[in-house]
């Protein structure tokens, strides 16, 4: 272990879905973390409960946003926080999306469920320097309409011309849920996207099965594996490469990931229980 968490104050809690909130955090004291880049994560510490890795979902000048889905003791404690509460934060850790390397290319961003969280700062970064990139496609999938994150932002993005194509799909839609959009897997949206495979970088995050299906589809369309960037997830305890939990074959996801190229990830994602 390398450093202790810095105290951060929760300034805002935005409920995204029934089980997911976005916390806005600012340093509670004079010390602040080093700057984050999109794709990196922090270890967020809930006092008396524990610490979990959470990707940064928006990067402000002082404010860091972290979107947390309640799936265990620590994430449940974080989701229950109110404005004014304190958390601890270590980071930034891991690799970023490296959007800069895609300058001049078409961008294809594909998100499934909570996987949109680490991709949001990437989309915002691309929109902020729009002229540096070609066409920008954003494909978003969620289980149900109620599971969609950043609903207002998605609506505004769908209406923006800066985004060549922003499509949203849900796995299931029930009568009366008000959903009138696509129903089906996010891979089905690929055919609507506008990109030149030989000059595109794709950014994928979501359930591993979705990442696998999307990456294979993209390779089939001619994207080279190294230009399919994926963000993967494993249990993490230390984030500094010492606890051994985040191993995926020879990759230590806290150190070599969470964002890695499909050229490295494909073999690792093809073996059951690796």
């Amino acid at each position: 272990m390398t450093e202790v968490p810095l105290p951060y104050r929760v300034t805002r809690v935005h409920r995204e879905t029934a089980d997911t909130v976005t916390l806005a955090l600012v340093p509670a004291g004079p010390a602040a973390s080093a700057p984050f880049v999109p794709g990196q994560f922090a270890m967020v510490y809930a006092f008396g409960v524990g610490e979990i890795p959470v990707s940064v979902s928006r990067i402000g000048r002082r404010t860091l946003h972290h979107t947390v889905r309640s799936v265990g003791a620590v994430s449940a404690a974080l989701c229950a926080l109110r404005p004014g509460a304190r958390v601890g934060l270590r980071g930034p850790f891991g690799t970023g999306w490296e959007l800069g390397r895609a300058a001049g290319q078409d961008l294809l961003v594909v998100a499934g469920g909570i996987g949109l969280a680490p991709l949001r700062p990437l989309v915002l970064q691309a929109l902020a320097a729009r002229s540096r990139y070609g066409r920008l496609n954003l494909l978003v999938g969620a289980r149900t309409p109620g599971d969609l994150l950043y609903a207002r932002q998605l609506r505004s993005w769908t209406a923006q011309r800066a985004l060549r194509h922003c499509a949203v799909t849900v796995d299931r839609s029930a009568d009366g849920d008000g959903w009138w959009g696509h129903v089906g897997l996010v891979t089905a949206l690929l055919k609507h996207a506008a990109f030149a495979p030989e000059n595109t970088t794709a950014f994928l995050c979501g359930p591993e099965v979705m990442i696998r299906a999307t990456a294979r589809d993209l390779l089939h369309r001619g994207l080279p594996p190294r230009r399919v960037r994926v963000s993967l997830e494993r249990n993490m305890r230390c984030a500094t490469g010492h606890c051994g939990h985040c191993q995926l074959g020879g990759v230590l996801l806290c150190r070599d990931g969470p964002v890695i190229g499909w050229d490295r990830a494909e073999a690792l994602c093809s073996v059951r229980e690796l």
Partner: protein
């Protein structure tokens, strides 16, 4: 460098002078001693606590102490502990956290006891294991501060191996019974008609200084020759060997092997192998609060990849089957460790074989994986499907690591 390092001979009594000199310097001397039917590592107040006259008889899943007539102190093989017990302890507090009445949070790094260790009787396999953990815990971008402090402050006195056990295979892992680097002093025990004595070589300035403080005599050619001969003979007496193939490639290409089902049917997933392994470094964390609820402590403790919780992700463990957990352990140790930390994770000390309650022998598992892969490649070759295969797997003798 080595020219000006001292080589000398210590009498049997010189060993205690060494222990006392170290203690006088404020060092905590840790070495092997007999306790509860095993040679364990513990703090020593005198060299008399060393296991003089004790040897060990080991086999897969079996460890017994045996009496030795020659009275040797370092004629035992690796016991259930290794030096990681001291350098990378099983439990360590990381930080204290306090919540004040107005809801503020303060986190302070846990104070660490400044212990300066002297390890007496470090086997060459364990010297290499310490070097492996150095790369893992203090060789990357982030350093484990506790480990680094303890390690930097530790003085290592090696004891060369002259009595390898039936589960030892360091030579086939590129090591050997001789100590060639990473020690402050290296002892080679000699017991013959000329008496019970130790050839001692300094490996650092600290070792030279220490040696200057204890009674010793210049190394005579006779003692040197006997000591060399005993170590050379030990090299030929390893009880086991890994198959002479590129283990990194073998394990990397065996992820879907049937052998994993075979070993999973025997493995209890108890994690003993990971606890006794001198290089296994994995840890987990625990959060502990006091009764007021306003003070919390964060602790780190050893963890094992055989534990179901180890790979827990929302929804359950990634590695649910025994097959996948055994595969993770062995593949990490022999193959993916190179990618992560630049070397093998195995030094061939044999502890995992000895202390496995069902006697699983990793040299036998590696040999079986080799047989299975070789058979598969032959089959693929005969069917003309050699596209992936013979070229990728290099069945050649592995060069020893230096």
């Amino acid at each position: 460098m080595s020219d000006r390092r001292t080589t000398a001979v210590l009498a049997r009594t010189g060993l205690d002078a060494l222990v006392q000199a170290l203690r006088a310097r404020g060092r905590t001397v840790v070495g092997p001693t007999v306790r509860d039917g095993a040679v364990v590592l513990a703090e020593l107040s005198s060299a008399e606590e060393l296991p003089f006259g004790w040897g060990t008889r080991v086999e897969a899943g079996r460890y017994r102490l045996v009496r030795r007539a020659d009275g040797a102190a370092f004629a035992h093989t690796a016991g259930p502990q290794s030096w990681k017990t001291f350098l990378h302890p099983g439990r360590e507090k990381l930080w204290d956290a306090d919540r004040t009445a107005d809801g503020q949070l303060s986190v302070t790094e846990a104070p660490r006891a400044h212990i300066s260790y002297a390890f007496l009787g470090v086997r060459p396999c364990d010297l290499r294991a310490v070097a492996v953990q150095d790369r893992v815990l203090a060789g990357g971008r982030y350093r484990d501060r506790g480990y680094q402090e303890r390690r930097t402050g530790a003085l290592l006195i090696a004891a060369e191996c002259t009595e390898p056990g039936a589960t030892c295979f360091c030579v086939s892992m590129g090591g050997g019974p001789g100590a060639d680097a990473g020690f402050d002093l290296a002892l080679t025990e000699v017991v013959d008609e000329a008496g019970h004595r130790f050839l001692v070589r300094a490996g650092s300035d600290a070792g030279d200084e220490l040696l200057a403080e204890v009674p010793h005599r210049p190394a005579d050619p006779e003692t040197k020759a006997v000591a060399r001969g005993a170590v050379d003979a030990a090299r030929e007496r390893m009880g086991r060997a890994m198959p002479p193939v590129d283990l990194r490639t073998l394990l990397g290409d065996s992820l879907e092997a049937d052998r994993w089902d075979d070993v999973a049917a025997r493995c209890l997933t108890c994690g003993n192998c990971t606890m006794v392994c001198p290089t296994c470094f994995c840890t987990t964390t625990e959060e502990v609060t006091d009764l007021t609820g306003d003070h919390a402590e964060r602790w780190q403790r050893w963890d094992s990849c055989f534990d179901l919780d180890f790979s827990h992700l929302h929804g359950g463990p990634v590695r649910a089957s025994a097959r996948s957990r055994y595969r993770q352990w062995l593949t990490h140790k022999l193959s993916t460790w190179y990618e992560q930390f630049g070397s093998s994770g195995c030094v061939g000390c044999g502890r995992c074989v000895t202390w496995c309650p069902v006697g699983i022998d990793i040299t036998e598992e590696a040999a079986a994986l080799h047989d299975e892969l070789a058979a598969r490649l032959r089959q693929d070759g005969q069917r003309g499907r050699g596209a992936r295969g013979v070229r990728d797997v290099r069945y050649e003798r592995k060069e020893p690591e230096r």
